[in-house]
């Protein structure tokens, strides 16, 4: 029972983690809670669905297409709705993000013809493996492997590529990075794109796992993923991963322990607890007051 719930929790958590990464990278560089990120994830799921149903491509192609589509959408969002607000008061881009979020939800609802869920076709024959007391489904395994691969890929990009170095520099000190000749606009675009690609992959994976997607699917998942990013320590990539998995596991065990009617509050309660004990999250660096 315990192990089974752990598997459930880690699977759920790894989808949170994929989305949390987008929040954490963007926040790390421009200190913006990109509330439209959940909608990017939703668009990923819908793109995947269209690819599979209309163009009849296989699952991996659909996922790549979704990642690409999300990247484009996110870069456009950043250009249109956030870039003009780079030097505005803190709440302006936040409101803009909420506007984008409403816009995208409505747009997809209109295109889809209503807010109710669409079935995601069974793209992979789902077999179940039994290992002692634990049951794995093939999709679960795929989610775990793909999520881990994507996170490793991300970590390598940030650590070893030139643009990754630029990202780290920009997140360390935006103004100085700009003075050092780093094209920060490009870095920000790239960050949005990269985060969106991961969210897009997350959307397709979740769609495939639960076989159901709808235009408002990004709202709560997005919020919880943001919680995961904060719990892990915003700006920290391993933090986002661990935060996601931590929240996923906590939610699952909360339900198992009989708090099922409080499930929606578990992520937020943990968030508050973690912040009160460690204000910058589990993996965040302590803030030194600058005078």
């Amino acid at each position: 029972m315990f192990w089974q719930q752990l598997v459930n929790g880690v699977t759920l958590g790894s989808t949170y983690a994929l989305i949390a990464l987008g929040y954490t990278m963007v926040y790390g560089i421009i200190q913006l809670i990109n509330f439209a990120h959940g909608e990017v994830y939703m668009i990923g799921a819908f793109t995947g669905l269209i690819m599979v149903v209309v163009y009849k491509v296989n699952f991996f192609v659909a996922m790549l297409a979704a990642m690409l589509a999300c990247t484009v959408v996110a870069v456009v969002i950043e250009k249109v709705a956030y870039r003009p607000l780079r030097n505005s008061p803190r709440l302006a881009p936040l409101i803009s993000a909420l506007g984008v979020s409403t816009f995208l939800q409505t747009l997809v609802t209109l295109i889809r013809g209503g807010p109710n869920p669409l079935p995601f076709p069974q793209v992979i024959q789902d077999t179940v493996y039994i290992l002692g007391p634990i049951r794995f489904s093939k999709v679960q395994v795929i989610i775990l492997i793909l999520a881990s691969l994507l996170m490793v890929f991300l970590q390598c990009t940030v650590k070893y590529t030139k643009i990754g170095k630029a990202m780290r520099a920009a997140s360390e000190d935006y103004a100085t990075a700009r003075l050092m000749g780093i094209n920060v606009d490009r870095v920000v675009s790239f960050t949005f794109g990269l985060g969106a690609a991961l969210a897009g992959a997350g959307g397709v994976l979740v769609g495939m796992y639960f076989n159901s997607i709808h235009p408002f699917m990004g709202v709560t998942v997005g919020l919880k993923a943001f919680c995961a990013a904060v719990v892990g320590g915003i700006g920290s990539i391993p933090g986002a991963m661990m935060g996601g998995i931590f929240l996923g596991v906590a939610e699952v065990f909360g339900v198992a322990m009989g708090f099922d009617t409080y499930k929606e509050a578990i992520a937020f309660a943990l968030l508050i607890l973690v912040l009160l004990v460690k204000p910058t999250g589990l993996f965040g660096r302590p803030i030194q007051r600058k005078v």
């Binding site: 759920l12 409505t106 209503g114 699917m217 339900v255 198992a256 499930k263």
Partner: protein, 388 residues
């Protein structure tokens, strides 16, 4: 610099003034003319718009049918649409607006919560409110202008429970509720005593959330329990996904639930996992059993909607308009103060959602109840249960 600011301010003020002026056009009194206005209250946009859209579809079909047959009292029916965007405070505005637009009755809202707040406005304004979906408690109690044409679970659920026990031999069940969904919480509170009455043991209770997709934790909790079936009190989306998760984790029981599960999404989303699951409703949607008005309605709906079957919202929306029209004819008046009494006296009225009688508390009693199961991507009637 300062001049610019002033100009901006001026424009801002002008914009407000224009908006306010626009307000004047909104609420013109309806000219007493050759139409009878019926308001639609529901979300055509926002998170719950699906229910609203379906209700309106049904209403439009009813109005078409009535007007084609010459209208009511020699006048044509007209629907005044009030979309509240699934937002309750807007719903109060919309209700008030519909009333100022001169509607004699309002059909809506599909959800209990908004119906209750709309009822608080309709009752003192003396406009009939016919909810096509509010199943929670405390709705018609608000006043004698408030009605609903839903299947009353308080009557149907015990009958179905009896059937589950006696015909299917269920002795132990798992009860799954959608927390935060009034329909589901109310149905659960009806099922609990009914199950106890029949001596069916509830071995596990689990809660899920509306719009959630991941039920692995709840299902894992069920894997260590022994039960004959699941009583699922929520809507079709979550029902389908819950059953899928059960099959993934190796549980093979079927589920039974109310008309919240009645929708093609149940088997579209659920596929094989919902095969054999049961849904009770006031009307049957399969070809063999559906007869008369119901069959006609289904055929017409399918023709207009790419062959999809109607769900309870569209069917109840259709019946709501029909009920109102018949009450007006019977009262020979479109004055809500008059026809509300003939409406209350409705007895054995044949609608597409079954036969409706309003009891002394103005609650609808529908008989019989159709228990339908999913077979090969369709609902098939399994049993017809009469309600005494």
């Amino acid at each position: 610099m300062r001049k610019k600011r002033f100009i901006f301010l001026l424009t801002a003020l002008l914009a407000v003034a224009m908006l306010t002026a626009g307000c004047g056009g909104g609420g013109e009194e309806a000219a007493e003319g050759d139409t009878i206005k019926i308001g639609f209250l529901g979300g055509l946009t926002g998170a719950h718009s699906h229910y609203g859209i379906e209700t309106l579809k049904g209403m439009k079909m009813a109005v078409e049918d009535i007007n084609a047959a010459g209208g009511v009292l020699g006048k044509k029916l007209e629907i005044v649409e009030g979309d509240h965007g699934s937002n309750s405070s807007e719903a109060a505005n919309v209700t008030q607006k519909l009333i100022t637009q001169g509607v004699t009755a309002i059909v809506g809202d599909p959800t209990t919560g908004i119906t209750k707040s709309a009822a608080q406005i309709c009752q003192p304004a003396q406009v009939v409110l016919m909810s096509a979906g509010a199943v929670g408690t405390g709705v018609v109690e608000i006043g004698d202008f408030i009605y609903r044409d839903v299947l009353l679970d308080a009557v149907a659920a015990p009958a179905v429970t009896k059937y589950l026990k006696e015909e299917l031999g269920w002795g132990k069940v798992a009860l799954v509720t959608t927390t935060g969904l009034p329909y589901s919480e109310s149905l659960t509170s009806i099922f609990k005593p009914a199950l106890e009455e029949e001596g069916i043991e509830i071995v596990a209770e689990q809660s899920i959330m509306e719009k959630d997709t991941n039920f692995s934790a709840q299902v894992t909790e069920l894997t260590r329990k022994d039960f004959d079936g699941v009583i699922f009190t929520g809507y079709y989306t979550e029902g389908a996904l819950f059953m899928k998760e059960m099959r993934k984790q190796g549980l093979n029981q079927v589920m039974a639930g109310g008309d919240g599960l009645l929708g093609k999404e149940l088997y579209e989303l659920g596929g094989n996992a919902v095969e054999g699951s049961m849904v009770y409703a006031g009307f049957a949607v399969d070809k063999e059993t559906a007869a008369g008005k119901t069959a006609e309605f289904i055929e017409k709906y399918k023709a207009n909607n790419d062959g999809n079957i109607p769900d309870m919202f569209s069917a109840q929306g259709y019946d709501a308009v029909m009920l109102l029209a018949d009450a007006m004819e019977a009262a020979d008046s479109s004055d809500p103060k008059v026809f509300k009494d003939t409406l209350a006296a409705t007895k054995d009225w044949e609608g597409v959602t079954g036969t409706i009688t309003f009891d002394e508390n103005r609650e609808p009693i529908k008989s019989p109840v159709y228990l339908q199961e999913v077979k090969d991507n369709a609902f098939v009637v399994k049993a017809v249960i009469p309600i005494s």
